[in-house]
């Protein structure tokens, strides 16, 4: 699966290509400059959906601003967080 995000008239358009199927998911937050509670809520939804399907869902390279918000929500103790994709693969792969 591949994706691309485009901004268009107030919408973030996520373009998915390829096969979209059951798979483990890592969300790379290394370039996130700001995330609010609605962004965090989307991550929680992804985490809970993956958990229900016995799939892995983790965060990678969480930036300082994103980590501050996760800590405020005490979700840094809930999400599996990895410094790099390699760390995740070596730990859980």
């Amino acid at each position: 699966m591949a994706y691309q995000v485009e901004e268009d008239r107030g919408f973030s358009i996520v373009l998915l290509t390829g096969d979209v199927d059951l798979s483990n998911t890592l969300v790379d937050l290394s370039d996130v400059t700001y995330i609010d509670s609605s962004g965090v809520a989307s991550l929680v939804e992804g985490y809970q959906t993956a958990k229900k399907k016995n799939l892995k869902f983790g965060l990678v390279g969480v930036s300082g601003p994103a980590m501050s918000v996760l800590e405020l929500a005490r979700l840094n103790k809930v999400f599996p967080i990895y410094a790099t994709v390699e760390e995740c693969v070596n730990t859980d792969g």
Binding site: S37, Q48, A73
Partner: protein
């Protein structure tokens, strides 16, 4: 009496305005020499308070007006957000239990965790609500 009014910003209840609000908050808090951590926290709290007004007071109506005022007073930063939507009972505004991991409902918790004091109320002479927040300047 405030020592110096720093920001008086009126904007529409449209999520597209949030980035502009965050940039303005960053500008004024940098001007008074707040630490990077405090600036980051204030941006989070004010952004969440604006989102709450857009979602819960104006219920998604993007034509509503929001007034953001920031001023310093006796070594504190005082932030007041005013909306002109139907009055909301302040007793109904409370953070949720964080042990219950679920999407949503984090904004009020963020605000209360970051700010030293928060007061919600209804406007006296017309329909509307205010949120007064205070934070000691480090």
């Amino acid at each position: 009496m405030a020592e110096s009014p720093m920001l008086e910003l009126r904007f529409l209840s449209d999520p597209k305005r949030l980035r502009m609000v965050r940039e303005k908050v960053q500008e004024v808090t940098e001007e008074i020499g707040c630490s990077k951590k405090l600036i980051s926290d204030l941006i989070i709290a004010i952004n969440e308070a604006c989102m709450n007004i857009m979602q819960h007071a104006y219920k998604g109506d993007k034509s509503g007006e929001i007034l953001l005022e920031i001023q310093t007073e006796h070594g504190n930063l005082e932030v007041v957000l005013t909306d002109y939507a139907a009055p909301i009972d302040p007793k109904l505004i409370r953070p949720r239990d964080l042990d219950d991991v679920k999407p949503g409902g984090l904004g009020t918790h963020f605000i209360q965790e970051i700010m030293d004091d928060c007061t919600y109320g209804n406007l006296e002479n017309r329909a509307g609500n205010f949120l007064r927040m205070r934070k000691k300047i480090n």
